[in-house]
């Protein structure tokens, strides 16, 4: 019998939902420092998926570590079973389709499984020059699942067609993936409102569940492309009391997950408060 939590943040709900994407034995890549995704993998590792291999920075199979703002890289490196280079990583994992999950986020995402981390507006005269895709444009195709997480589900993010295709899932249908040498798996986006997924090139994204307290209309009205709406729509499983306790006390005691949900002008102050706690943790007041 599961005891569901009454008191949890949307970040904690997303973290637990993302952790359920991790299956025991998976190869899970951490990518750039994104607290919500890191927390979900570590939560998976210390709960239902002890046999996953984490890949973080140069570290292979690090011990699960407590998240903080400054120490993820040091912790992964100090707890590593092996240290390797990016080339060894991509030769062993990416190019062989051996990766299972590496959650990505994006400035824009569209109905075709394209992501845009490059520009808003014209490529040569952008309104916004984004950071670029790093590994994302290729991992979303190569890894078994394409998992995205979006902390602000809106028509700004979920557009009919991205301004620029930095990367794309490219082959979506299971049989096409197998033919192309990749393992079949869904495109699944976990947002602050819902979970939506696409498994066929010619079918739209489908609402898999809406989060407790969110109306189906809210999801539809905040998505810039057609969604398949099953009847009835399921509710996203709430986090359990134990999961919330683990996140707050073990995985993320400094509250890094909440950082991504703070409005722009509150971020710096919040960051400073986390850093103050980190200083206190090493005996500097």
């Amino acid at each position: 019998m599961k005891h569901y939590a009454d008191d949890y943040s949307v970040g904690e709900l997303m973290c637990v939902t993302l952790s359920k994407e991790i299956e025991d034995g998976d190869v899970v890549l951490l990518g750039s420092f994104t607290p919500l995704a890191y927390a979900s993998y570590i939560l998976a590792k210390i709960t239902h998926a002890p046999n996953i291999t984490l890949l973080a920075y140069a570290a292979v199979d690090p011990r699960p570590f407590q998240l903080s703002f400054t120490r993820a890289e040091a912790a992964a490196t100090r707890g590593a079973a092996l240290l390797w280079t990016m080339l060894e990583d991509l030769n062993s994992v990416h190019l062989k389709g051996r990766g299972d999950v590496e959650a990505i986020s994006s400035i824009q995402a569209d109905q075709y499984g394209n992501i845009n981390l490059s520009v808003v507006g014209e490529y040569d005269k952008p309104k916004l020059r984004g950071p670029g895709g790093a590994g994302a444009p290729e991992v979303i195709k190569m890894h078994r699942k394409m998992i995205g997480y979006f902390t602000s589900h809106s028509k700004m993010t979920f557009v009919p067609k991205v301004d620029f295709i930095t990367g794309t899932r490219y082959v979506i249908d299971p049989e096409d993936r197998i033919k192309s040498g990749y393992r079949p798996g869904p495109i699944r986006y976990i947002t602050n409102l819902a979970v939506i997924a696409k498994e066929k090139k010619d079918k739209p994204f489908k609402i898999e569940s809406v989060h407790p307290g969110v109306k189906v209309e809210d999801v539809i009205n905040n998505t810039g492309f057609e969604l398949e709406v099953p009847a009835p729509v399921k509710e996203t499983e709430k986090p359990t009391k134990d999961e919330v306790k683990l996140i707050r006390e073990q995985v993320d005691p400094y509250g890094t997950i909440a950082f991504d949900f703070k409005p722009g002008k509150e971020r710096l102050g919040y960051l400073k408060s986390i850093l103050q706690k980190e200083l206190e943790s090493i005996g500097y007041a």
């Binding site: 407590q66 890289e73 040091a74 490196t77 991509l90 190019l95 895709g133 850093l275």
Partner: protein
């Protein structure tokens, strides 16, 4: 006979890096960028560089803001949680800095091709990405000569100079790495000349006590510079974490071109030892080292 020494000073980089060179810059994310060398490039007034990076942050942003670049090749430039890179954005959105945006894998595979002395390497690359259309100089769709399968050819990347930061070296130039090695080794193989800053220079005897940590042989190194905290404000794990307090300062001062000039005056246009004083000296260093040591595991 004593072996040849590769050890030099920061100011010796001008013997190797020339105006107009293509330089590959090591490190990744907020980790292990050769920042002491970057600051020295700015101090020395080296110009018109083409920078090549895989996943970068303040290293590239600072070079752009200081006016050292004429072109940029990158897969990612971001200050991560601190925000988008301010000088990078300004230069592209307002000043039209020419750039080549390439996927991370193509940068790494392109450097590997450069190191192997072949013009390209094939892989099952980013089909469907607009980047392939945008930069045909770096991506070509080719047919496998054996199976007829479509593949993507990633063009070789051949920097004039690679600059990286590493854990330690001996005077002969054997380089040890204990942390985030990024694609530094491929950069070193692909480049014509190589400069490495290290946390410490030790004896060859000591290097030979742990040869598994040695990642670059001496014949692939041209200049070794001892630069403790030489990756600051980025990290050099497992020794020290990135400096979030300095990153906040940088973001504040890089917000406008005028305040960024002030940043360069306050932190860069002075000898490296004064930089280390300006960022908080020994006290700040010990905080960053302590954070890197005091990590908590959950198993």
């Amino acid at each position: 006979m004593p072996t040849e020494s590769k050890v030099g000073k920061l100011s010796d980089i001008t013997k190797i890096i020339k105006n107009g060179d293509k330089i590959a810059i090591g490190g990744a994310w907020l980790g292990n960028h050769p920042m002491a060398i970057i600051r020295q490039i700015i101090r020395s007034g080296i110009k018109d560089l083409t920078a090549i990076t895989v996943v970068s942050s303040i290293d590239i942003d600072m070079l752009i803001g200081a006016g050292c670049l004429k072109r940029l090749m990158f897969s990612f430039v971001s200050m991560e949680a601190f925000g988008l890179a301010p000088n990078f954005r300004r230069a592209i959105e307002k000043e039209g800095l020419p750039y080549d945006e390439i996927t991370g894998l193509a940068v790494i595979i392109g450097l590997e091709a450069g190191g192997r002395n072949v013009p390209f390497l094939p892989y099952r690359g980013p089909f469907g990405s607009d980047l392939v259309k945008q930069r045909p100089e770096f991506y070509k769709v080719i047919k496998c000569p054996f199976t007829g399968e479509d593949l993507i050819a990633a063009a070789a990347i051949t920097p004039d100079v690679a600059i990286i930061h590493a854990t330690r070296a001996d005077h002969a130039g054997t380089i040890q790495m204990e942390g985030t090695s990024a694609t530094d080794i491929e950069m070193m193989r692909a480049a014509k000349k190589r400069i490495v800053s290290v946390e410490e220079i030790v004896s060859t005897e000591e290097i030979r006590r742990s040869p598994a940590k040695s990642k670059v042989p001496r014949f692939q190194v041209d200049l070794v510079i001892e630069a403790p905290l030489g990756a600051h404000p980025t990290s050099c794990v497992p020794q020290y974490v990135f400096d979030p307090w300095h990153m906040m300062k940088y973001m504040e001062m890089a917000a406008t071109p005028d305040t960024f000039k002030q940043y360069l005056n306050d932190f860069v246009m002075k000898p490296e030892w004064e930089y280390l004083e300006a960022i908080g000296g020994m006290k700040q260093a010990s905080i960053l080292r302590r954070l890197a040591r005091e990590v908590k595991f959950l198993d």
